[in-house]
Symmetry: C4
Subunit: 220 residues, 4 copies
Amino acid sequence: MRDDTIPKLIAELCRQFYGLGWVTGTGGGISIRGAEGIYMAPSGVQKERIVPEDVFLLEAGDFSCCRVVRAPANPSLRVSECQPLFFNAYRLRDAGAVIHSHSVWAVLAARMFAPHGHRGAFVSEGLEMQKGLRGKGCFDRVRIPIIANTPREAELTESMADAMQTHPDVDAVLVAGHGVYVWGIDWVQAKTQAECLDYLFRAVVESDRLALTRAEGAER
Amino acid sequence: MRDDTIPKLIAELCRQFYGLGWVTGTGGGISIRGAEGIYMAPSGVQKERIVPEDVFLLEAGDFSCCRVVRAPANPSLRVSECQPLFFNAYRLRDAGAVIHSHSVWAVLAARMFAPHGHRGAFVSEGLEMQKGLRGKGCFDRVRIPIIANTPREAELTESMADAMQTHPDVDAVLVAGHGVYVWGIDWVQAKTQAECLDYLFRAVVESDRLALTRAEGAER
Amino acid sequence: MRDDTIPKLIAELCRQFYGLGWVTGTGGGISIRGAEGIYMAPSGVQKERIVPEDVFLLEAGDFSCCRVVRAPANPSLRVSECQPLFFNAYRLRDAGAVIHSHSVWAVLAARMFAPHGHRGAFVSEGLEMQKGLRGKGCFDRVRIPIIANTPREAELTESMADAMQTHPDVDAVLVAGHGVYVWGIDWVQAKTQAECLDYLFRAVVESDRLALTRAEGAER
Amino acid sequence: MRDDTIPKLIAELCRQFYGLGWVTGTGGGISIRGAEGIYMAPSGVQKERIVPEDVFLLEAGDFSCCRVVRAPANPSLRVSECQPLFFNAYRLRDAGAVIHSHSVWAVLAARMFAPHGHRGAFVSEGLEMQKGLRGKGCFDRVRIPIIANTPREAELTESMADAMQTHPDVDAVLVAGHGVYVWGIDWVQAKTQAECLDYLFRAVVESDRLALTRAEGAER
């Protein structure tokens, strides 16, 4: 993928994610690694209206800090507050892309498995869409770590890194009351995993609501 | 923002809000303040089919009355019945834009916190999307006032103004069985807050439906 | 409205209604009266793919029978099976347009108020969107008749006509397990009423699911 | 239908099915039979981004094996893992097209009727949309077989064939935790049946959630 196509792709994916309900109210975001550095959508803007010129290019050499290589012409745009969290995935997992979604299904799934907003893990079993997750089959027990939210996004950096290290088999971290971070070796795998997880969150939450008593006991 | 772009933006936002389920059945509306006055979508029309020529321009000098500066060529169009409610936000809060949504999530949220249709307040806590609201953080307790509905929209003017004065920290008023009014310093903040609130209404309503008993007691 | 614009409008509305979930699986339909007769979408076709050339023109002189004035070039297309039901609205109410939706909200609403699939009435109260219905205010008690379904659509003709005569104040009839017929003096009023009713069906069904116990007793 | 239009149609339907939530996360797929052989979407790709050049053409002479007549230029594309399941419908039912959907409604419906993930049958009764299914009326009792999922899709081949043989009256098989396979004599019938089934799955699941106690006992 040529670097000059990445800002346009980021704008296009932001519009698509807005349609999915992942980035409404200026929430959420996306970042893609190119040959020249890390491309990142700006903070606090309407995601369905981003244009390629709004995208930041950040240095990829040292993930302990944030150096802007190329800023948007619009001086009011700031680097996403998620930047250190996106960098966690680049630094600890050598990711090629990271998606941050505020999907209501992520929030409901976190609430279901960590009702008091503390740590926990979302659990999914027996669903075919688990196959879209790296190394998982439909009969595996998938556990996605849930971390507690913090007043500022940057303060999540350490607990997200901890959760990543204790769950090396998955490429996502849920944040209670907030959303989910998902990454992959490239934007396609990051997006595929983000879609599969959103589906799993929804399927598990909606299953929980089914009045299964009538069906329990006797398979028809 | 140049005034001559506002009618086109209003038409575009009406189509977008129709897609979000906020303005179906000719309900809901939007108004934006420009240098020349107050722009307002017409009443009782199909919002997804509005064209820039349908937008009214009203005088902004005196918010106690409604003076039309420029009316649409189509003589059957009337100023929105919400006009005095939109003017509340211009008059009391110096708003730059106001959105009125009939989203079913607003109605369900109001019903949940004011089941008999009287006054009350919607409460949200611990949700990241609260950050999209002026001055709020994710650990604040957000309270959005709920007022009782009235037979005609204009009759809401006073109770909406009262609710605005007793809740100066938020930029929205819910109307039981009806919807929500949301404003901001400009159309971007009004839309961002409207999207965040719609998300909070949905997240709180859907959380209420979760069978949390299984998860309660033990964080996994 | 010029007659030569009606087939294009029907095709456009069919695509829009498909997006709303009203006419999937070739179900549902729409008919508009013009100066030259009654325009009607064909039966059993993919509604989101209809082109203006697929629309039938039927004689409006005698609503006791169905005479084709102009048939589509495609000989495999048939007049909608709903034709006698659409004609009920033209004949008994002098309608200008009729919409037939298979929306799942219509089916759930009918099920909620007539759980055994017999006759009954859907009831809505205290919802602002009732104002989109002819002659109704938000504090009225809106009753939409529900009739039992029949093996063939044409067999509904008489019971639909009966329900229309016993409920002269509303412009819609629900059919249990099936959907809803909605009409109006023109296509705009028919569509507005169809959107408002779909909203009311959903709002009442979703309210029913809320666990209101927590909120009951004390308005906050 | 000319063969050279089929790859374009497949790409178009994939985008439409993505919008319906049937093929997110690279899941699901579609295959259409032409004069020259069997056209099939590739495996594990983003379905809303497929272009006609990505579509495989497979030999239709012998359904016991998979011979590629024409492969996409892109060498990383593989034939769908669903290929033997699609071939079941071509071989046993002389289908003209097969759709595989991962719709969450299919998964919830299967869970409702086979809560332990074993064999069973989804049951629908009294719904008009049953008429969109081959040979069914709205008062029939429709039974769609549910089979247990397997670690690899190809391993479903035999149990799917068994279910097809014991349920010759329907053109679909549900797979627990996975989705549904639906076919028809051509792509239009396959799509119509897939849409009707998705509607039935949803209507039955959502009906199950209604608190019908209030309405039970007395038809209003």
